[in-house]
């Protein structure tokens, strides 16, 4: 029996885009995604230069700040992650320097070449999202500076690029992207909702193919830089979409599929289990969204002063509150609802940890909706600054495209709250749709699932109402 999302789309439906020859040829070319990475390398050099030249000047007229925190962030939350999964990782320039050094080549492949660097294995205990959870949370401590002071963005981006380089020299392949990059974790989590996936086509072909070239590499491409087993992909979470497996598979058995949104949220098996580190990532993202909204889009000046460190005591209080709310308070409230779920279900066998972890994945669509709504509050009032900075990227009085004097023009801000509220309602529907299915996976009988789902549903509804109130109120 087919399981249809909203009674419309079969959750198992897939449209393989790589069956179209131009797409497959593109994916098999060694120039892709390298060309996109090189374009972004150029763009990030301009961004870093603009941040350095901009120093302590106003952030809203700085190319680096506007491209990174307005355009890139909004693109990430609007399109790249919800539709194209980890498409940003595909074109991210940060690991290109260590890739280059490790491989000795940018474009072609030298089979059997020993990679440069120490090539150490990443510690087993750290093969999860915990470090990324902490790294991203700590990055947000400084959001009050990074988004307004070009020099702060320069330091942050410079540190990320430098760390990626050093980690690439010490550890094998792309351990930085897998376990350290601050923006990798939430992309991985929310990529589970995405509408595309990289998967093997015929499992039998992979079973028969004894030399796993997708992992080991061959003359056509490198072994999976993300240290995954492409022949057994279950979820989007850790696949960086580098497309090397399309190049190394001699049977063209890798496919790039269009699929219904959220399909990965229902995946829970020994090879790709639901995990606490990912659950905490969902809590952290929700907490950050709430705190960011209150600080950056709310009317409370005293809170803005705390975030931008007007006083040390205020800043430290904000950090403490921000950390505790993301790591403790929100998970604790959710644990309360999970406990209620178990009580309501009447099932004593299902461990509370499973109930807690499973239902935490309902926060993936809801959190994505919250971030899309928050991003609307960034782009609609501030988007017009982009026209200025494109013409005068270094604030040197250039006018490359004749738009340097384009005035600040907020767009649809009168309707902003309503658009944000509507966004929340759309993603609430996805949350409910997947939440009910997760309930049926969590509890063995339909009656228990319905009873156990009730408190979680009530909690998620209250959370959505809170956000709609926050945006429209």
């Amino acid at each position: 029996m087919t399981d249809k999302l909203f009674g419309l789309v079969d959750l198992n439906a897939r449209l393989e885009l790589t069956r179209f020859k131009p797409v497959r040829a593109l994916f098999k070319s060694r120039w892709f995604p390298l060309a996109a990475v090189l374009v972004n390398t150029f763009l990030f050099v301009v961004i870093l230069l603009a941040c350095l030249v901009g120093g302590y000047s106003a952030g809203n007229y700085n190319f680096g700040i506007m491209i990174v925190w307005i355009l890139w962030w909004v693109m990430l939350m609007f399109v790249l992650v919800p539709v194209f999964a980890r498409a940003w990782c595909l074109m991210c320039p940060f690991p290109i320097f260590s890739d280059w050094l490790q491989r000795g080549r940018l474009l072609d492949v030298v089979p059997g070449r020993k990679p440069f660097g120490l090539g150490l294995k990443w510690p087993t205990r750290l093969r999860n999202m915990w470090l990324m959870n902490v790294a991203f949370l700590m990055t947000t401590y400084f959001s009050g500076f990074m988004t307004v002071r070009p020099m702060a963005s320069f330091i942050l981006l410079g540190l990320v690029i430098l760390t990626a380089f050093i980690v690439g020299l010490v550890f094998e392949r792309r351990n930085f992207c897998l376990y350290l990059c601050p923006v990798s974790g939430f992309q991985g989590l929310y990529a589970q909702f995405a509408m595309v996936e990289v998967r093997r086509k015929d499992p039998e072909i992979c079973r028969q193919h004894k030399v796993k070239t997708c992992y080991l590499g061959n003359e056509c491409g490198h072994g999976c830089p993300w240290l995954l087993a492409p022949f057994n992909f279950q979820k989007n979470t850790y696949c960086g979409m580098c497309l090397e497996c399309f190049k190394t598979c001699p049977y063209d058995n890798m496919g790039f599929n269009l699929r219904p949104p959220g399909a990965d949220l229902l995946v829970d098996n020994p090879r790709a289990p639901r995990k606490l580190d990912e659950a905490w990532k969902a809590f952290i993202m929700l907490g950050i969204a709430i705190n960011f909204y209150l600080a950056f889009q709310g009317p409370w000046g005293w809170l803005k002063d705390m975030v931008r460190a007007a006083t040390w005591s205020g800043f430290l209080t904000y950090i403490l509150y921000h950390t505790v709310s993301c790591l403790v308070i929100i998970p604790a409230i959710f644990l309360g609802f999970a406990w209620l779920s178990k009580r309501f279900s009447g099932n004593r066998e299902v461990p509370l940890k499973n109930v807690f972890t499973n239902f935490a994945y309902t926060l993936v669509p809801l959190g994505l909706g919250v971030w899309i709504a928050f991003s609307l509050g960034i782009i609609l009032p501030n988007g017009s600054y982009l026209l200025h900075i494109l013409s005068d990227p270094f604030a040197w009085g250039w006018n490359l495209f004749g738009t340097a004097n384009f005035p600040w023009t907020p767009v649809w801000t009168a309707y902003l709250g309503y658009v944000q509220g509507a966004t929340m309602l759309v993603f609430y529907l996805f949350t409910i749709a997947f939440g009910y299915r997760i309930a049926k996976q969590t509890y063995p009988t339909l009656a228990q699932a319905r009873r156990g789902w009730t408190p979680i549903w009530a909690g998620l509804t209250a959370l959505t109402v809170f956000f709609v109130w926050l945006y429209t109120g």
Binding site: T41, S57, A58, H388, F394, W396, A404
Partner: protein, 117 residues
């Protein structure tokens, strides 16, 4: 790869150096007194030679610019914006320039001097 990285930096800096050598006499940075005031506070030019000032407002508030002895100025330079002022000094001496927009409680201290030799 080298073009995208080193080439971009060298290209941008060379282009700007060339442009400034053709267009501008000096760059004047506008900041309210608490953030550093005009920089430089004193600009020295020669009489009879055209002067081209590039005024960058790197502040978070709007500033203005006036040099009344030569009847030039910029009514409003918004945060992050850049204005260009061109004139030819025809007399020798020291002439004050100042901000014309109430930018901060110490607005009246936002002054500098143009020295014409």
């Amino acid at each position: 790869m080298l073009i995208a990285t080193v080439g971009t930096v060298l290209g941008v800096l060379s282009a700007e150096k060339f442009r400034r050598s053709r267009l501008f006499t000096t760059e004047l940075i506008a900041r309210e007194p608490n953030h550093g005031n005009w920089y430089p506070r004193t600009i020295t030019v020669k009489r009879g030679q055209p002067v081209r000032l590039l005024i960058r407002n790197i502040d978070t508030v709007t500033h203005g610019f006036a040099l009344p002895d030569f009847a030039v100025g910029a009514k409003e330079i918004k945060a992050g914006h850049v204005e260009t002022i061109t004139f030819t000094p025809d007399k020798v001496g020291q002439f004050p320039f100042f901000c014309t927009v109430w930018c901060s409680p110490r607005h009246e201290e936002m002054r500098g001097v143009l020295v014409v030799e």
